[in-house]
Point group: C2
Chain length 180, copies 2
Protein backbone atom coordinates (compact mmCIF):
# COMPACT_ATOMS: atom_id res chain seq x y z
CA UNK A 1 0.00 0.00 0.00
CA UNK A 2 0.95 3.60 0.07
CA UNK A 3 3.89 3.77 2.47
CA UNK A 4 3.42 7.23 3.88
CA UNK A 5 3.13 9.45 0.83
CA UNK A 6 1.32 12.68 1.53
CA UNK A 7 -1.47 13.11 4.01
CA UNK A 8 -2.32 16.58 2.74
CA UNK A 9 -5.59 17.02 4.53
CA UNK A 10 -7.07 19.35 1.96
CA UNK A 11 -6.57 17.03 -0.96
CA UNK A 12 -7.86 14.12 1.05
CA UNK A 13 -10.99 16.03 1.95
CA UNK A 14 -11.40 16.73 -1.71
CA UNK A 15 -10.99 13.07 -2.65
CA UNK A 16 -13.51 11.92 -0.08
CA UNK A 17 -15.93 14.61 -1.13
CA UNK A 18 -15.69 13.69 -4.78
CA UNK A 19 -16.11 10.00 -4.02
CA UNK A 20 -19.19 10.74 -1.92
CA UNK A 21 -20.67 12.84 -4.69
CA UNK A 22 -19.96 10.19 -7.31
CA UNK A 23 -21.47 7.36 -5.30
CA UNK A 24 -24.48 9.47 -4.41
CA UNK A 25 -25.14 10.43 -8.01
CA UNK A 26 -24.85 6.85 -9.21
CA UNK A 27 -26.43 4.83 -6.41
CA UNK A 28 -28.21 7.32 -4.15
CA UNK A 29 -27.32 8.70 -0.76
CA UNK A 30 -28.23 5.52 1.08
CA UNK A 31 -25.32 3.86 -0.72
CA UNK A 32 -22.94 6.50 0.58
CA UNK A 33 -21.57 4.55 3.52
CA UNK A 34 -18.24 5.11 5.16
CA UNK A 35 -17.15 1.58 4.23
CA UNK A 36 -18.12 2.04 0.61
CA UNK A 37 -16.24 5.32 0.37
CA UNK A 38 -13.22 3.82 2.08
CA UNK A 39 -13.20 0.93 -0.36
CA UNK A 40 -13.62 3.32 -3.26
CA UNK A 41 -10.52 5.23 -2.12
CA UNK A 42 -8.50 2.19 -1.13
CA UNK A 43 -8.29 3.07 2.54
CA UNK A 44 -10.09 1.98 5.67
CA UNK A 45 -13.03 3.67 7.31
CA UNK A 46 -11.22 5.39 10.19
CA UNK A 47 -9.12 7.33 7.71
CA UNK A 48 -12.24 9.15 6.54
CA UNK A 49 -12.74 10.51 10.01
CA UNK A 50 -9.49 12.40 9.75
CA UNK A 51 -11.01 14.30 6.82
CA UNK A 52 -14.55 14.74 8.15
CA UNK A 53 -15.93 14.48 11.65
CA UNK A 54 -18.57 12.02 10.47
CA UNK A 55 -21.00 11.14 7.75
CA UNK A 56 -23.17 14.15 8.45
CA UNK A 57 -20.23 16.53 8.21
CA UNK A 58 -19.34 14.94 4.89
CA UNK A 59 -22.85 15.44 3.52
CA UNK A 60 -22.80 19.01 4.76
CA UNK A 61 -19.57 19.56 2.87
CA UNK A 62 -21.02 18.13 -0.34
CA UNK A 63 -24.05 20.40 0.04
CA UNK A 64 -21.90 23.44 0.73
CA UNK A 65 -19.80 22.85 -2.34
CA UNK A 66 -23.04 22.35 -4.22
CA UNK A 67 -24.16 25.83 -3.24
CA UNK A 68 -20.88 27.18 -4.54
CA UNK A 69 -21.34 25.36 -7.81
CA UNK A 70 -24.92 26.55 -8.08
CA UNK A 71 -23.85 30.15 -7.49
CA UNK A 72 -21.21 29.78 -10.19
CA UNK A 73 -23.69 28.25 -12.61
CA UNK A 74 -26.10 31.12 -12.05
CA UNK A 75 -23.45 33.80 -12.38
CA UNK A 76 -22.24 32.24 -15.62
CA UNK A 77 -25.35 33.40 -17.44
CA UNK A 78 -26.97 36.80 -17.96
CA UNK A 79 -28.56 38.36 -14.90
CA UNK A 80 -31.97 38.11 -16.52
CA UNK A 81 -34.97 36.10 -15.34
CA UNK A 82 -35.19 33.38 -17.97
CA UNK A 83 -31.48 32.52 -18.27
CA UNK A 84 -31.07 32.29 -14.53
CA UNK A 85 -34.22 30.24 -14.12
CA UNK A 86 -33.02 27.86 -16.77
CA UNK A 87 -29.56 27.68 -15.22
CA UNK A 88 -31.08 26.87 -11.85
CA UNK A 89 -33.26 24.07 -13.20
CA UNK A 90 -30.42 22.75 -15.34
CA UNK A 91 -28.17 22.53 -12.32
CA UNK A 92 -30.79 20.65 -10.32
CA UNK A 93 -31.42 18.26 -13.19
CA UNK A 94 -27.73 17.66 -13.82
CA UNK A 95 -26.82 16.94 -10.19
CA UNK A 96 -29.99 15.62 -8.60
CA UNK A 97 -28.31 13.96 -5.63
CA UNK A 98 -26.20 16.98 -4.80
CA UNK A 99 -29.33 19.09 -5.08
CA UNK A 100 -31.06 16.64 -2.79
CA UNK A 101 -28.29 17.03 -0.22
CA UNK A 102 -28.58 20.80 -0.48
CA UNK A 103 -32.32 21.00 0.07
CA UNK A 104 -34.01 17.74 0.94
CA UNK A 105 -31.76 16.27 3.57
CA UNK A 106 -31.30 17.39 7.15
CA UNK A 107 -28.21 19.59 7.25
CA UNK A 108 -26.29 21.15 10.06
CA UNK A 109 -25.83 24.35 8.11
CA UNK A 110 -27.46 27.61 9.18
CA UNK A 111 -29.50 29.37 6.52
CA UNK A 112 -31.41 32.52 7.15
CA UNK A 113 -29.28 33.33 10.15
CA UNK A 114 -26.49 35.84 10.30
CA UNK A 115 -23.81 33.19 9.98
CA UNK A 116 -25.11 31.87 6.70
CA UNK A 117 -22.16 30.45 4.76
CA UNK A 118 -20.96 32.61 1.92
CA UNK A 119 -21.82 30.23 -0.97
CA UNK A 120 -25.47 30.19 0.12
CA UNK A 121 -25.59 33.95 0.31
CA UNK A 122 -23.94 34.16 -3.09
CA UNK A 123 -26.37 31.77 -4.74
CA UNK A 124 -29.32 33.70 -3.39
CA UNK A 125 -27.81 36.99 -4.53
CA UNK A 126 -27.52 35.61 -8.04
CA UNK A 127 -31.25 35.07 -8.03
CA UNK A 128 -31.95 38.42 -6.46
CA UNK A 129 -29.95 40.15 -9.17
CA UNK A 130 -32.25 38.66 -11.80
CA UNK A 131 -35.41 39.41 -9.81
CA UNK A 132 -34.56 42.63 -7.97
CA UNK A 133 -36.87 44.16 -5.40
CA UNK A 134 -36.64 46.14 -2.21
CA UNK A 135 -36.43 43.47 0.46
CA UNK A 136 -35.79 40.19 -1.33
CA UNK A 137 -39.32 38.82 -1.02
CA UNK A 138 -39.58 38.52 -4.79
CA UNK A 139 -36.35 36.53 -4.98
CA UNK A 140 -37.56 34.24 -2.23
CA UNK A 141 -40.78 33.51 -4.10
CA UNK A 142 -38.86 32.91 -7.31
CA UNK A 143 -36.47 30.64 -5.50
CA UNK A 144 -39.38 28.73 -4.00
CA UNK A 145 -41.02 28.26 -7.37
CA UNK A 146 -37.78 27.05 -8.93
CA UNK A 147 -37.11 24.75 -6.03
CA UNK A 148 -40.58 23.31 -6.28
CA UNK A 149 -40.25 22.75 -10.00
CA UNK A 150 -36.85 21.11 -9.58
CA UNK A 151 -37.84 18.89 -6.68
CA UNK A 152 -41.21 17.73 -7.93
CA UNK A 153 -39.79 17.11 -11.38
CA UNK A 154 -36.84 15.14 -10.06
CA UNK A 155 -39.14 13.11 -7.83
CA UNK A 156 -41.30 12.15 -10.77
CA UNK A 157 -44.26 14.10 -9.39
CA UNK A 158 -44.79 16.09 -12.58
CA UNK A 159 -45.43 15.05 -16.18
CA UNK A 160 -41.96 14.82 -17.73
CA UNK A 161 -43.08 16.01 -21.17
CA UNK A 162 -44.27 19.36 -19.82
CA UNK A 163 -41.01 20.57 -18.28
CA UNK A 164 -40.54 23.28 -20.88
CA UNK A 165 -44.16 24.41 -20.68
CA UNK A 166 -43.87 24.75 -16.91
CA UNK A 167 -40.72 26.83 -17.21
CA UNK A 168 -42.33 29.11 -19.78
CA UNK A 169 -45.44 29.61 -17.70
CA UNK A 170 -43.49 30.16 -14.50
CA UNK A 171 -41.32 32.69 -16.28
CA UNK A 172 -44.32 34.57 -17.58
CA UNK A 173 -46.03 34.64 -14.20
CA UNK A 174 -42.97 35.58 -12.21
CA UNK A 175 -42.01 38.46 -14.47
CA UNK A 176 -45.43 40.15 -14.43
CA UNK A 177 -45.40 43.79 -13.43
CA UNK A 178 -45.69 44.31 -9.71
CA UNK A 179 -48.61 46.70 -9.87
CA UNK A 180 -49.25 46.88 -6.17
Amino acid sequence: MSPRPAPDLDSRRDQVLRAARAVAESDGWSAVTMRRLAGELGVTQPVLYSAFAGRQALIDAVALRGFGDLAAALEAVDAAPLPRMRAYLDFAAAHPRVYEAMFSMPLGLPFAADDTPEPLRQAFSALHDAFPDADGTRAEVVWSALHGLATLDAGGRLRPAHTQARLDLAHRLLTEQETS
Copy 2:
Protein backbone atom coordinates in the same frame (compact mmCIF):
# COMPACT_ATOMS: atom_id res chain seq x y z
CA MET B 1 -49.69 -10.17 28.22
CA SER B 2 -52.56 -10.02 25.88
CA PRO B 3 -53.79 -13.61 25.60
CA ARG B 4 -55.13 -13.62 22.08
CA PRO B 5 -57.48 -10.65 22.05
CA ALA B 6 -58.05 -9.22 18.60
CA PRO B 7 -55.48 -9.14 15.84
CA ASP B 8 -57.70 -7.04 13.61
CA LEU B 9 -55.12 -6.18 11.01
CA ASP B 10 -56.74 -2.92 9.98
CA SER B 11 -56.79 -1.46 13.44
CA ARG B 12 -53.25 -2.59 14.04
CA ARG B 13 -52.09 -0.96 10.85
CA ASP B 14 -53.80 2.17 12.05
CA GLN B 15 -52.09 2.01 15.44
CA VAL B 16 -48.65 1.52 13.93
CA LEU B 17 -49.26 4.29 11.45
CA ARG B 18 -50.36 6.73 14.15
CA ALA B 19 -47.40 5.84 16.33
CA ALA B 20 -45.01 6.36 13.44
CA ARG B 21 -46.57 9.73 12.68
CA ALA B 22 -46.42 10.80 16.32
CA VAL B 23 -42.79 9.79 16.78
CA ALA B 24 -41.83 11.42 13.49
CA GLU B 25 -43.52 14.69 14.35
CA SER B 26 -41.94 14.83 17.79
CA ASP B 27 -38.45 13.42 17.20
CA GLY B 28 -37.96 13.26 13.44
CA TRP B 29 -38.01 10.37 11.00
CA SER B 30 -34.61 9.09 12.09
CA ALA B 31 -36.18 8.30 15.45
CA VAL B 32 -38.87 6.20 13.80
CA THR B 33 -37.24 2.83 14.30
CA MET B 34 -39.07 -0.46 14.41
CA ARG B 35 -37.88 -1.02 17.98
CA ARG B 36 -39.07 2.41 19.08
CA LEU B 37 -42.49 1.88 17.53
CA ALA B 38 -42.76 -1.60 19.01
CA GLY B 39 -41.91 -0.26 22.43
CA GLU B 40 -44.40 2.56 21.99
CA LEU B 41 -47.14 0.03 21.24
CA GLY B 42 -46.07 -2.53 23.83
CA VAL B 43 -45.24 -5.25 21.32
CA THR B 44 -42.09 -6.58 19.75
CA GLN B 45 -40.59 -5.64 16.42
CA PRO B 46 -41.65 -8.67 14.40
CA VAL B 47 -45.29 -7.88 15.12
CA LEU B 48 -44.96 -4.70 13.09
CA TYR B 49 -44.08 -6.76 10.06
CA SER B 50 -47.50 -8.34 10.13
CA ALA B 51 -48.95 -4.87 9.60
CA PHE B 52 -46.40 -3.52 7.12
CA ALA B 53 -43.90 -5.28 4.92
CA GLY B 54 -41.11 -3.11 6.32
CA ARG B 55 -40.12 0.33 7.40
CA GLN B 56 -40.34 1.71 3.88
CA ALA B 57 -43.87 0.40 3.42
CA LEU B 58 -44.81 2.05 6.70
CA ILE B 59 -43.41 5.39 5.59
CA ASP B 60 -45.22 5.01 2.28
CA ALA B 61 -48.45 4.45 4.17
CA VAL B 62 -47.91 7.56 6.30
CA ALA B 63 -47.27 9.57 3.15
CA LEU B 64 -50.31 8.16 1.41
CA ARG B 65 -52.58 9.02 4.31
CA GLY B 66 -50.94 12.43 4.29
CA PHE B 67 -52.05 12.97 0.71
CA GLY B 68 -55.56 12.05 1.73
CA ASP B 69 -55.46 14.51 4.60
CA LEU B 70 -54.04 17.21 2.35
CA ALA B 71 -56.77 16.65 -0.20
CA ALA B 72 -59.37 16.92 2.55
CA ALA B 73 -57.79 20.09 3.91
CA LEU B 74 -57.85 21.67 0.46
CA GLU B 75 -61.43 20.65 -0.28
CA ALA B 76 -62.54 22.05 3.05
CA VAL B 77 -62.02 25.60 1.82
CA ASP B 78 -63.38 27.57 -1.14
CA ALA B 79 -62.08 26.53 -4.54
CA ALA B 80 -60.40 29.90 -4.95
CA PRO B 81 -56.69 30.59 -5.28
CA LEU B 82 -55.88 32.29 -1.99
CA PRO B 83 -57.84 30.00 0.36
CA ARG B 84 -56.42 26.89 -1.22
CA MET B 85 -52.90 28.28 -1.20
CA ARG B 86 -53.26 29.12 2.45
CA ALA B 87 -54.73 25.72 3.24
CA TYR B 88 -51.82 24.03 1.48
CA LEU B 89 -49.19 25.98 3.37
CA ASP B 90 -51.05 25.57 6.65
CA PHE B 91 -51.10 21.82 6.18
CA ALA B 92 -47.39 21.70 5.49
CA ALA B 93 -46.64 23.87 8.50
CA ALA B 94 -48.91 21.87 10.80
CA HIS B 95 -47.53 18.46 9.86
CA PRO B 96 -43.96 19.09 8.74
CA ARG B 97 -42.76 15.52 9.13
CA VAL B 98 -45.70 14.02 7.31
CA TYR B 99 -45.15 16.57 4.58
CA GLU B 100 -41.51 15.57 4.53
CA ALA B 101 -42.48 11.95 4.06
CA MET B 102 -44.82 12.93 1.24
CA PHE B 103 -42.31 14.94 -0.74
CA SER B 104 -38.76 14.86 0.57
CA MET B 105 -38.20 11.20 1.27
CA PRO B 106 -37.72 8.41 -1.22
CA LEU B 107 -41.07 6.72 -1.66
CA GLY B 108 -42.16 3.62 -3.47
CA LEU B 109 -45.30 5.31 -4.69
CA PRO B 110 -45.92 6.06 -8.37
CA PHE B 111 -46.83 9.64 -9.20
CA ALA B 112 -47.38 10.93 -12.65
CA ALA B 113 -47.99 7.43 -13.94
CA ASP B 114 -51.32 5.91 -14.72
CA ASP B 115 -51.48 4.01 -11.47
CA THR B 116 -51.19 7.10 -9.33
CA PRO B 117 -52.99 6.43 -6.03
CA GLU B 118 -56.33 8.15 -5.69
CA PRO B 119 -55.43 10.47 -2.77
CA LEU B 120 -52.61 11.96 -4.83
CA ARG B 121 -54.87 12.52 -7.80
CA GLN B 122 -57.48 14.05 -5.52
CA ALA B 123 -55.04 16.46 -3.89
CA PHE B 124 -53.83 17.63 -7.25
CA SER B 125 -57.38 18.05 -8.51
CA ALA B 126 -58.15 20.28 -5.55
CA LEU B 127 -55.36 22.58 -6.71
CA HIS B 128 -56.41 22.37 -10.32
CA ASP B 129 -59.95 23.42 -9.41
CA ALA B 130 -58.60 26.63 -7.90
CA PHE B 131 -56.22 27.27 -10.81
CA PRO B 132 -58.04 25.86 -13.82
CA ASP B 133 -56.48 25.64 -17.24
CA ALA B 134 -56.57 23.41 -20.26
CA ASP B 135 -53.89 20.85 -19.53
CA GLY B 136 -52.95 21.28 -15.89
CA THR B 137 -49.67 23.07 -16.46
CA ARG B 138 -50.87 26.02 -14.43
CA ALA B 139 -51.75 23.78 -11.51
CA GLU B 140 -48.36 22.13 -11.69
CA VAL B 141 -46.61 25.46 -11.51
CA VAL B 142 -48.79 26.55 -8.62
CA TRP B 143 -48.12 23.30 -6.87
CA SER B 144 -44.39 23.73 -7.39
CA ALA B 145 -44.44 27.24 -5.99
CA LEU B 146 -46.41 26.15 -2.94
CA HIS B 147 -44.16 23.18 -2.41
CA GLY B 148 -41.09 25.37 -2.65
CA LEU B 149 -42.50 27.86 -0.18
CA ALA B 150 -43.47 25.10 2.24
CA THR B 151 -40.20 23.21 2.01
CA LEU B 152 -37.80 26.12 2.13
CA ASP B 153 -39.76 27.70 4.95
CA ALA B 154 -39.84 24.50 6.98
CA GLY B 155 -36.13 23.99 6.42
CA GLY B 156 -35.33 27.43 7.75
CA ARG B 157 -34.13 28.58 4.34
CA LEU B 158 -36.36 31.65 4.27
CA ARG B 159 -36.79 34.58 6.61
CA PRO B 160 -39.51 33.51 9.03
CA ALA B 161 -40.98 36.98 9.43
CA HIS B 162 -41.82 37.28 5.75
CA THR B 163 -44.05 34.23 5.38
CA GLN B 164 -47.18 36.31 4.89
CA ALA B 165 -45.48 38.64 2.42
CA ARG B 166 -44.33 35.69 0.35
CA LEU B 167 -47.81 34.22 0.25
CA ASP B 168 -49.29 37.56 -0.81
CA LEU B 169 -46.75 38.06 -3.56
CA ALA B 170 -47.03 34.49 -4.79
CA HIS B 171 -50.80 34.83 -4.88
CA ARG B 172 -50.61 38.04 -6.88
CA LEU B 173 -48.14 36.62 -9.37
CA LEU B 174 -49.89 33.29 -9.83
CA THR B 175 -53.30 34.84 -10.43
CA GLU B 176 -52.18 37.24 -13.16
CA GLN B 177 -54.13 37.00 -16.38
CA GLU B 178 -52.76 34.49 -18.79
CA THR B 179 -52.49 36.83 -21.76
CA SER B 180 -50.76 34.43 -24.03
